[in-house]
């Protein structure tokens, strides 16, 4: 039992490290790799994928912490990311563990919904700052959504790999129980 717990704890620690790295990448590296003038919501993609696999409580705490870290490092005036990340994690948890037995469909649906929500958030903040809504959608929100979708694929595949390496029988039993429910 202790061995199983150790594997789960190890996986959670690594997941937290990956998420922190995603925040730093989003704030420092991706601004230099803009596509069509936008940067992707990398951290949001990580949160959505993690929530599909991980424990519900851990996913929620990680989502809130990652959102707060992102807004702090990015010096955002609006600290809305914790709430948005928490809601995205909830959608993932709900779809992955309650509605669907498989993991690919819920991850894609919740990833798409989260990225769309991210684009809406960007549009709303730009509109609140006085930018024309049409231009904000065209020049920033839409490219951000598309770039996010591109980034989501490798993030999801890496999350699958990560879970397969560190999974244990406790997780499998929990997933089967979730699927039956």
């Amino acid at each position: 039992m202790q061995k199983k717990n150790a594997a789960a704890v190890m996986r959670m620690i690594l997941t937290a490290v990956y998420t922190a790295a995603a925040v730093l990448l989003q704030c420092s590296v991706f601004p230099h790799l803009r596509l069509f003038g936008a940067i992707p919501e990398l951290t949001l993609c990580v949160i959505v994928c993690v929530s599909c696999w991980e424990d519900e409580k851990f996913s929620c705490i990680l989502a809130v912490c990652a959102g707060f870290l992102l807004d702090t490092v990015g010096s955002d005036k609006f600290t809305l990311s914790p709430l948005m990340f928490l809601l995205s994690a909830c959608v993932s948890i709900l779809l992955a563990k309650r509605v669907f037995a498989g993991k690919l469909i819920p991850a894609v649906i919740s990833g798409g919904a989260a990225l769309a929500a991210g684009a809406v958030k960007t549009t709303l903040i730009l509109a609140a700052k006085g930018a024309p809504v049409n231009a904000a959608i065209l020049h920033t929100a839409l490219p951000q959504l598309l770039y996010g979708a591109i980034v989501f694929i490798p993030v999801f595949l890496l999350s699958v790999l990560h879970f397969r390496i560190f999974r244990n029988s406790f997780d499998l039993g929990r997933l089967r129980a979730g699927a039956r429910a």
Partner: protein
């Protein structure tokens, strides 16, 4: 479904909403929190490292989206370089450094009341709706909130928005949160230079709220008015590239090209002290 009705989830949701509300309100009213300062204190050195990686990768994405444009530009630049290479090859690096230092000296001699603190840009959070520079110096070096930052050629870049012990954050004049009191050097017509979303995408800003009969022309230099005491009077903001009339506000506005090369900056000067302008 049981999880979403659990005490844990409800408490987490309430705490998150409170965090969002409290920190957004604090930020909007200009208060900075110790938690944010602490996080920035830890992350700034790591950010410096990851930003170096980002700088190394700079522009790679544009190969995909702007390949044809870049190819054409590359050919033009190659021709230009060939023409210029003979003239400047040997002394180029030394000359540039010399020019930069001379400009700094000129600014100091011209404005005896100015006190500078040079600072390197260690990070650049170029988000989807803002551009924030992280500087590698902070309160320990006399840098504090609302101090103006200028380039080596005395062009206004922006102002410090937040400062910790070893770091500080600054926003540029093309940012939508920026507003600077300004006047036209030639005619003394006044207005406010503000960031504009669409112009900001092209690295430009806007001089707004000018009287409908204001005397302003393309090519005019725009300087800071010093009103509001954040910026000293007479700093060069930029030059006018376009003049238009806003029908809804019934005011004139001008598109400004910043004098300082904001996109390619690696170091700046923070004006830690200057004589405040008093309107007569």
């Amino acid at each position: 479904m049981k999880f979403f009705k659990s005490k844990f989830f409800i408490i987490t949701l309430i705490v998150t909403v409170l965090i969002a509300a409290v920190f957004t309100a604090m930020s909007l009213f200009g208060y900075s929190s110790y938690i944010k300062a602490g996080i920035n204190y830890v992350t700034t050195p790591i950010q410096k490292l990851s930003d170096a990686v980002g700088r190394a990768l700079d522009g790679y994405a544009s190969y995909i989206t702007e390949f044809d444009k870049l190819k054409k530009e590359n050919e033009e630049l190659k021709n230009q370089i060939n023409e210029m290479l003979d003239d400047v090859q040997s002394a180029k690096g030394v000359k540039e450094e010399n020019d930069r230092l001379r400009r700094m000296l000129e600014v100091k001699e011209e404005h005896l009341d100015y006190k500078f603190e040079p600072a390197d840009i260690v990070g650049r959070e170029d988000g989807n709706y803002m551009t924030v520079f992280t500087l590698g110096r902070g309160k320990n070096n006399g840098i504090d909130k609302d101090m103006p930052i200028i380039s080596a050629n005395s062009g206004l870049i922006g102002r410090i928005t937040d400062a910790g012990a070893t770091w500080s954050k600054a926003c540029s004049i093309v940012d939508m949160d920026s507003s600077v009191g300004a006047y036209v050097e030639r005619s003394r017509s006044s207005g406010i230079v503000v960031g504009d979303y669409e112009l900001g995408l092209r690295g430009l800003c806007k001089m707004a709220y000018m009287q409908s009969d204001a005397d302003i022309e393309v090519g005019d230099r725009i300087l800071t008015s010093g009103v509001g005491s954040v910026y000293p009077r007479g700093l060069i903001i930029g030059t006018v590239t376009e003049v238009s009339y806003d029908e809804s506000l019934r005011t004139k506005y001008a598109v400004i090209k910043p004098y300082a090369e904001i996109s390619g900056l690696s170091s700046v000067m923070v004006l830690t002290s200057f004589e405040r302008y008093v309107e007569e």
